[in-house]
Symmetry: none
Subunit: 438 residues, 2 copies
């Protein structure tokens, strides 16, 4: 009897406890609605207006630079840019901070910021970014994984984590051979990337992206088994295990790449679309797969087949009437900076300057010239330095500057601002944002 | 046996649930310690000091402007402002961003920002703002509702959502006739506003503000019944229903305004007071009801009966010894901008300039001249452009500027800053903020 009573009491207590927790959760939800601070996307969803304006955002990748010697000029300061200077006279400029002061971003966060997506809030998993970078079109629920060919010794321990840095020529057919792997109920994609790297994507129901890396990050030990970090990813871990069993057989006879590791498991990131957030029909005109992929993740249409900047502007002209917003990506200000080729970066900036009149002829309501980060030739890498950013519209409140570079932008009318606010400035200047509150 | 098993299973489930909840709570506590950031009001509550300083915040509504033609001057740049220029020489200036870059605020969020209340966190419901705007003093727990007279056809469908835009002369007595409505236990206020608009306030216990609009936003259909969106607002929905039943009888015979809709139900917003947040005894010297109302919502005393700027300064002089902080609101820089009357806005800025010596004579510890947003005559509306803001104190660290306008402020010593930080700057310059941390 006692034990029964005890049992009941205990049960009653637990029921009471469970109910009180549920009530607290309900209360919390209600309070959050009242207390929480409105985020920028909620705001732009509420305030967005529709009109016939056109916005052009020209992103010169890695635009910002540094002098090569103390007292010297940057790439942008060295370039002859009569057209950008003319625009600067009409426009307002500022220094765009890609993420936060001191933070040098990769292409992913750099572009998310420019697109108006807080790059510390929205994160693209490594696998998803790798797949995006090679132009793979991820679908909702896909899991993308970065894979490295590796070498196992006779005991099954890793002797080389990168399979002797196998060449792309040798690794690509190997990656393609892994397309033989078959797992019932799962669609599998295997895509070569470069040298020892390739991408695997699993498509099927109930695949969470939270699985631990199988790369032990050292040699002399065996690869780890795929392990789910949450319940929703257990099926993914099983599928990955089965993939590895079959891959081991396929690769077994290769002298260097006789196995592979799996890292950066990630679902397609859940990013709201430009249409939802801004009410904009947006087109991306890019040459490289990575930037097409990033634009696709925020719901832009990737348009045209351009291979050069001039061809990109051809595409812009052809589709001018079809879209509200155009993202044009120019790669070479970044790649020349990465190469440390100051003179070539200057030339590429001048190439950019030369096409500005063709954009102006279209009479965009808002023209923006910016970069996703700086890539100083001096550093040969992405950097944290604010990016010279120019905005032109007929209500932009021009500042006194008559040219455009790292020195002028720091005293421009846009001040120093986080890149994630560039889109609200663009929307406001296009007359596409209503008043907040009465 | 079965039932015991079942019981055990249930008990086991509950124990598992309870344990998982406890683990989640532990995790959450850990995360909160890491994630929670101190907000500005917690900071100023902790750091506030008391002294005899006086702060004057002069808000020229819609102060910022734009040139009317490319290369032209703004209103402030065109005005003769010898006194403001003299202050600028002594002071430090900057560009105040009302909410976030690109966001044009209404008067509510514009002033909340200047008062130091994050305008994306503190939101004033539409009904509460409308009541505030006509000078109605909302009390804790009141529900305010914006109402529109409308026309119902013989079938009870709305044929005109604004009762043929009935004139104020005709609608005011009609609104007042609705004061006949009686509901036991509820105090009811009905106040005319303008044309088809009036305000209803319910006062009584247990009235939540979360009730859906009854305006169907289209004609040819009947008005909606008031519907509570949460449990706490169910009584409010019932009271509104009863109000509408009685209103229908009172209005029945009117040819145009034979009924009304109810929109923007809202409780008085819960804003901490200036006394709590800053330890300031604050006075508001405003002419228009909206700004008196906004000041009252943050606990300022609304003082004086001034109808002109000169009379506002009379009030300031008279009450100088009684308060620590004075908010002076000047409306006409906004209304002239809204009218697109560039020349008149210039004159109003010159009027403002002319009274500055009277303020200076009182020797405020801190003098601030700013606006709640820009209202360029060019746009004839509130805009997102940063507002020229000037702060003078004997420890303000003056910048090199010798005049004050849109072009100078962008390179001023205050930089580009969100309006919500102006009050901490004011407090610091008044010696009213202690050191944060040891």
């Amino acid at each position: 009897m006692d034990s029964t009573l005890k049992g009941s009491a205990c049960l009653a207590d637990l029921v009471k406890f469970a109910n009180s927790v549920k009530q607290k959760q309900r209360n919390k939800k209600h309070n959050q609605q009242w207390e929480n601070t409105m985020d920028m996307h909620t705001l732009t969803r509420e305030l967005q207006l529709s009109n016939d304006s056109k916005i052009v955002m020209l992103v010169a990748d890695g635009l910002g630079g540094l002098p090569m010697t103390p007292g010297g000029k940057t790439e942008l300061e060295s370039a002859k840019i009569p057209n950008l200077s003319a625009l600067a006279t009409l426009g307002v400029q500022g220094a765009s901070i890609p993420v936060k002061p001191g933070i040098a971003p990769g292409s992913g966060p750099g572009h998310l910021g420019l697109f108006g997506y807080d790059p510390l809030h929205y994160q693209i998993g490594r696998g998803a970014l790798e797949a995006t970078g090679i132009g793979f079109e991820l679908q909702e629920g896909d899991v993308a994984i970065r894979c490295n060919f590796c070498t196992l010794d006779a005991n099954g321990n890793i002797s080389d984590r990168r399979a002797g840095r196998i060449s792309s020529e040798e690794s690509a057919p190997l990656a393609i051979s892994l397309r033989q792997v078959k797992i019932p109920g799962i669609e599998i994609f295997v895509e070569p990337v470069k040298e020892h790297r390739f991408v695997v994507v699993f498509r099927g129901p109930g695949l969470g992206g939270n699985v631990a890396d199988t790369d032990p990050q050292k040699t002399g030990v065996p690869p780890l088994a795929p392990k789910a970090n949450d319940k929703a990813s257990e099926r993914t871990a099983e599928v990955a295990k089965e993939f590895l069993v079959q891959a081991k057989k396929i690769l077994a006879s290769h002298p260097k790449a006789n196995f592979h590791t799996m890292r950066g498991f990630a679902n397609k990131p859940a990013l709201p679309s430009y249409q939802e957030v801004y009410g904009l029909k947006a087109a991306a005109i890019a040459v490289y797969p990575m930037y097409k992929g990033l634009a696709r993740l925020v719901g832009m249409d990737v348009v045209g087949q351009a291979q050069t900047l001039a061809e990109q502007i051809d595409t812009l002209e052809q589709l001018w009437s079809k879209y509200d917003f155009f993202f044009i990506h120019f790669k070479y200000t970044d790649s020349t900076g990465e190469d440390g080729n100051f003179a070539e970066k200057v030339k590429r900036i001048e190439e950019l300057d030369s096409i500005m009149p063709r954009i102006a002829k279209l009479k965009p309501t808002v023209t923006i010239v910016t970069g996703d980060h700086s890539t100083p030739s001096f550093l040969q890498s992405h950097s944290w330095h604010p990016v010279p950013t120019l905005l032109v519209s007929d209500c932009c409140r021009p500042d006194p500057h008559t040219t455009f570079n790292e020195s002028t932008c720091i005293t421009g009318g846009l001040g120093h601002f986080e890149a994630q606010y560039l889109m609200t400035l663009a929307m406001a200047n296009a007359g596409r944002l209503g008043k907040y509150g009465a």
